[in-house]
């Protein structure tokens, strides 16, 4: 479903790329839509009692695992960016 919507969006975008005013407006809308989505995600996490109740105990283990995984990814991603991608942005 997500891929389908994305493809529709890409085609519309390809079609309207000369209308810069509209493109700027859409880029502004995106950041507000992100705020809205995080707000809704907060509501669904906050009202999920299974997640909220198990947070203190299992949450610590989960958090440590995630932080480790993220640290590893970020470090390698930084090296990859520096040595393989940065030059190709221009």
């Amino acid at each position: 479903m997500v891929i389908l919507i994305l493809i529709v969006g890409l085609i519309i975008g390809w079609g309207i790329h000369q209308n810069q005013k509209l493109v700027t407006l859409i880029n502004k809308l995106i950041i507000y839509a992100i705020y809205l989505l995080l707000f809704l995600l907060g509501i669904s996490v906050g009202s999920n009692s299974v997640i909220m109740n198990s947070l203190p105990t299992l949450g610590i283990t989960a958090l440590l695992l995630t932080l480790a995984g993220l640290a590893g990814s970020l470090l390698l991603a930084w090296l990859l960016y520096k040595f393989f991608f940065q030059d190709y942005e221009k």
Binding site: M1, V2, I5, L6, I7, V8, G9, L10, I12, G13, W14, I16, V23, I26, L29, I30, I31, A33, I34, Y35, L36, L37, L38, F39, L40, L41, G42, I43, S44, V45, G46, S47, N48, I51, S54, L58, G59, T61, A62, L63, L65, T66, G69, L70, A71, G72, S73, L74, L75, L76, A77, W78, L80, Y81, K82, F84, F85, Q86, Y88, E89
Partner: protein
């Protein structure tokens, strides 16, 4: 940094509203966040499609794009293996299996619950939700300190849907296609890697 704080504020207000039980039943029953996500993805698609630069990366980066999912997998699994001796209730292969969720919490926690029990399933659920959350909240920070691929790697399997809008916003349109390819490959690999690590 300013953006991370604004995003975090919206999220915390949402949690407070959720725990207080004040939110209307309408919000829960209509699954508004799913439609909001679809709408956001549509806008992101339009925004990527309208920028000529976003298409160029496919020609320039070519096979190098495949290094991005490889980086995410290696970085995550090596770090999960290293931290597993410090965790009391999780062994090496369970730690690898939870890491192999790459933010795809629904699928990975279901597989882990079935194969290794509810206890590990809940940890997998939480760990992978946290991964998505941290990416959503700290992408501006990650781009600043670890470069433009960092949030893609951090987002894992979610870099093609839930975290795609924020990645596109802060890494730029050039990295949108990389995020989509990366997320798609990891989404396919999640069930395979979770099963494989648990059967080690």
């Amino acid at each position: 940094m300013k953006n991370s704080i604004i995003i975090l504020t919206f999220f915390i207000i949402g949690i407070l509203l959720g725990t207080s039980g004040l939110q209307s039943q309408f919000l829960i029953e209509t699954d508004l966040s799913l439609y909001a996500l679809y709408f956001l993805i549509l806008l992101v698609g339009v925004s990527i499609g309208a920028d000529r630069k976003s298409w160029q990366i496919l020609w320039k980066a070519k096979l190098r794009i495949l290094l991005v999912p490889l980086t995410t997998i290696l970085g995550t699994l090596i770090a999960c293996a290293l931290i597993s001796p410090l965790l009391e209730n999780v062994g090496l292969k369970e730690s690898l299996a939870i890491g192999s969720g790459f933010g795809y919490y629904s699928l990975s926690s279901i597989i882990i619950t079935q194969k290794a029990g509810e206890f590990l399933g809940v940890i997998a659920l939480l760990a992978n939700i946290i991964r998505e959350l941290i990416t959503l909240l700290f992408t501006p920070f990650m781009v600043k300190f670890f470069g433009k691929i960092a949030p893609i790697s951090a987002g894992g399997a979610t870099s093609m849907d839930t975290t795609l809008p924020i990645i596109t916003r802060f890494s730029g349109h050039q990295y949108a296609f990389i995020a989509i390819v990366h997320g798609t490959i990891l989404t396919i690999l999640v069930p395979i890697l979770v099963n494989f690590t648990l059967s080690l």
